[in-house]
Symmetry: C2
Subunit: 420 residues, 2 copies
């Protein structure tokens, strides 16, 4: 059985690679036509999608999945419309492939440039949310990459249905349908098989819980782009605009507490703590946020639970916030270097020097001044859409959009130069 | 013993990481002073370096190493002077750290940019050539990275001596000496220990034979930048300038046959073969090159050995060249896609359309028109110097210089924006 899965996934990967070589040279107009056809077919086949989705939902109900999980799994009319408009938006983005990033001339008249090209084939491993299947297929297609998708077993019927509809759509276009594939197995072994296709797959993107991601990193010889977690910090500097600081903290914590760019820890300069902390805590309490504070925080405000060591660097993903009063700017930087996850940090300050120093000294993937950590997102930052986020420094670092799905080759225009 | 090596290398890695955090924020002027001090000390301590190098050379002679190996191992006056001037050249390069690659404004007035930062700590694993120790140390220091070097056991005393001199030099500067370290063990186990330091080391660069590189890829959870081999192709198009084509082939094959950017296969359009092949083969023979040709090549020229299947895609690293006559441009492209190693390919042509098509359709890391493959080199391409070359598409693809030793973080300037 293991051998069967191995063989069958290798065959799939070989097929995707061959199709991806055709896609890599496809004109932008053909790729855009394909994206629009995919959107149209998703709308047209929404009945079929919901019928297949029903099979997954029934199993999920039987298995007693949480309402939140079931919500994420449901292909409602709104979710399907979102998938379709998502693909139309990707069609409207500029094509990154073929862009000449830079060009220069050498003393011997060689003209050298860097041209953007697709990576080749992307392997994507994710949990729940069948709409990711269409999103990822769209971004990979636009950037000229083949993609093999491996969604959660609880969304198996939905994912296969989305694939069927996308293939129907692609068959009406010049793009080979095989550029998009879904792994047709629910066994965990299928992930191992996928991670062994190092001659066909150029990049693995795992999205999901830390356990899944660690499993992938451990078993892959293919490069992996990942982030384990997002422990985002807001540092409120002395002399900060208190209203701005309060708005940013509330937004960063409560706008969508379950996502990786939500704030988990707020650091407050001691010179502003006495005036700022009590009103911040009151506002957070009013918004339903549980506060876990250092000793000084507990002394300055009511309704604060004393923080334990485990609260610094914790990813709560919930309406819980750790607050610490720090002695000075340096102490804030040290705390972030020690407990941060290289995701996103922001300083709230009116001081030009400190703003610049924060941007220079913090090497997280996104470093902000006077803005909510919630803007750390491909769409919000103008990358178009994001296929993932990286907190490892190789290749992409931070939100990863279409450009992150490409690499550059060197091109050299000569007129007969030989090396002396 | 294995535990001791593991522990001791982990300690070393922790030390390098701490020092690298200081180096990451060091001003360019301090880094340049350190590089110049390193160069001065190498010159001043050449006696000590050669005395320690003698220990390695004596062992090498006893072990019966080949004259070529002994030559690579020798720290002659010329090699030491080369190491010193290499460091001075790196000091003169622009500092990649802190460069703002691009900046844009969002509709909500957020100003977003990408700033170049060091990767962190680089682990470099290589064979022979103790001068690589100084070269790699210089490039990593300039790009703000700590580095742990693991050279060949046959160069152990030489590498430790170079390290001692570099440390003496760094102690006279503001840069912590610990940013450069050499693994003080000759056991193979030390490589495994190094590859396990995933929390300290950001990137592994192996340089050496394919066996070493495959071992590293198999055992590393840290991202690896590598190239297994260079099977570079020269395609001579119909209507090419025959003199230019001959010069490029001779240069690409014979200028330095033992390196990865030397040509290994020449493809010749059948329309030019009758006139071009006999004179090319004569010129190659005169230069001492053994030719392994396809049936048509054998029919058109004397002194050609019939090629076997194994000759296509072979990396000879010697004065041996495979030659094939192809039906047309498409056949040349297909041959390269099938047998190439994603290193470097060049077309010799007078046809504008074919030149552009070759640059577009071949996705090797360096693709050239009318130039020798020998230019596929960081120094020759104007990257300053190269720490390695990558034929995998993630992060760097092709020659990798100072810029390849950095990544970019996003910086965001706001004035109180929160997410709606």
């Amino acid at each position: 059985m293991i051998m069967d899965i191995d063989r069958s996934i290798k065959d799939l990967a070989v097929k995707v690679k061959a199709a991806a070589q055709v896609l890599a040279g496809a004109p932008t107009s053909e790729k855009n036509k394909a994206l629009l056809a995919m959107a149209a077919y998703l709308r047209k086949q929404s009945g079929f999608l919901q019928e297949q989705n029903r099979l997954d939902l029934d199993q999920a109900l039987t298995a007693g999945l949480s309402p939140a999980m079931i919500d994420r799994l449901t292909l409602s009319d709104k979710v399907i419309e979102g998938m379709a408009t998502g693909l139309e938006e990707v069609a409207a983005f500029p094509d990154p492939v073929g862009e000449i990033v830079r060009m220069w001339r050498r003393p011997n008249q060689l003209q050298i440039g860097k041209m953007r090209i697709p990576l080749g084939v992307v392997g994507m491993i994710y949990e729940s949310r069948p709409n990711v299947t269409a999103d990822a297929a769209g971004l990979c297609l636009k950037s000229g990459n083949g993609v093999i998708l491996r969604g959660g077993s609880e969304a198996f019927h939905s994912n296969m249905a989305v694939l069927k509809v996308l293939h129907e759509a692609l068959k009406t276009t010049a793009i080979p349908a095989s550029v998009v594939q879904v792994v047709p197995f629910t066994e965990r072994q299928a992930i191992n098989s996928l991670l062994a296709c190092e001659d066909q797959i150029d990049l693995i993107i795992p999205r999901g819980g830390e356990g899944l991601i660690r499993f992938v990193v451990e078993h892959s010889r293919i490069p992996v782009i990942k982030h384990y977690k997002g422990v985002c910090h807001v540092y409120v500097d002395s002399g900060a605009d208190e209203e701005m600081a309060r708005n940013i903290v509330i937004n960063a914590k409560t706008h969508r507490p379950g996502v990786c760019n939500a704030a988990e820890t707020v650091l407050i300069h001691q010179d502003i703590a006495t005036s700022f902390l009590p009103q911040l805590v009151a506002a957070l309490n009013a918004a339903g946020v549980e506060i876990r504070g250092c000793a000084k925080t507990c002394a300055l405000a009511d309704a604060v639970i004393p923080a334990t060591d485990a609260d610094w660097g914790a990813e709560f993903l919930d309406l819980i916030l750790a607050i610490k009063v720090v002695d000075d700017f340096d102490a804030a930087v040290s705390h972030i270097v020690k407990y941060g996850s290289d995701h996103t940090e922001t300083i709230v300050t009116c001081d030009y020097q400190r703003a610049q120093e924060f941007l220079r000294r913090i090497n997280s993937s996104v470093v902000m001044v006077n803005a909510s950590t919630r803007f750390s997102d491909g769409g919000q930052m103008g990358l178009g859409a994001e296929i993932g986020i990286s907190t490892t420094k190789l290749h992409a670092y931070g939100p990863m959009g279409l450009e992150g799905l490409t690499t550059t080759k060197y091109i050299v225009y000569g007129d007969g130069q030989i090396r002396e």
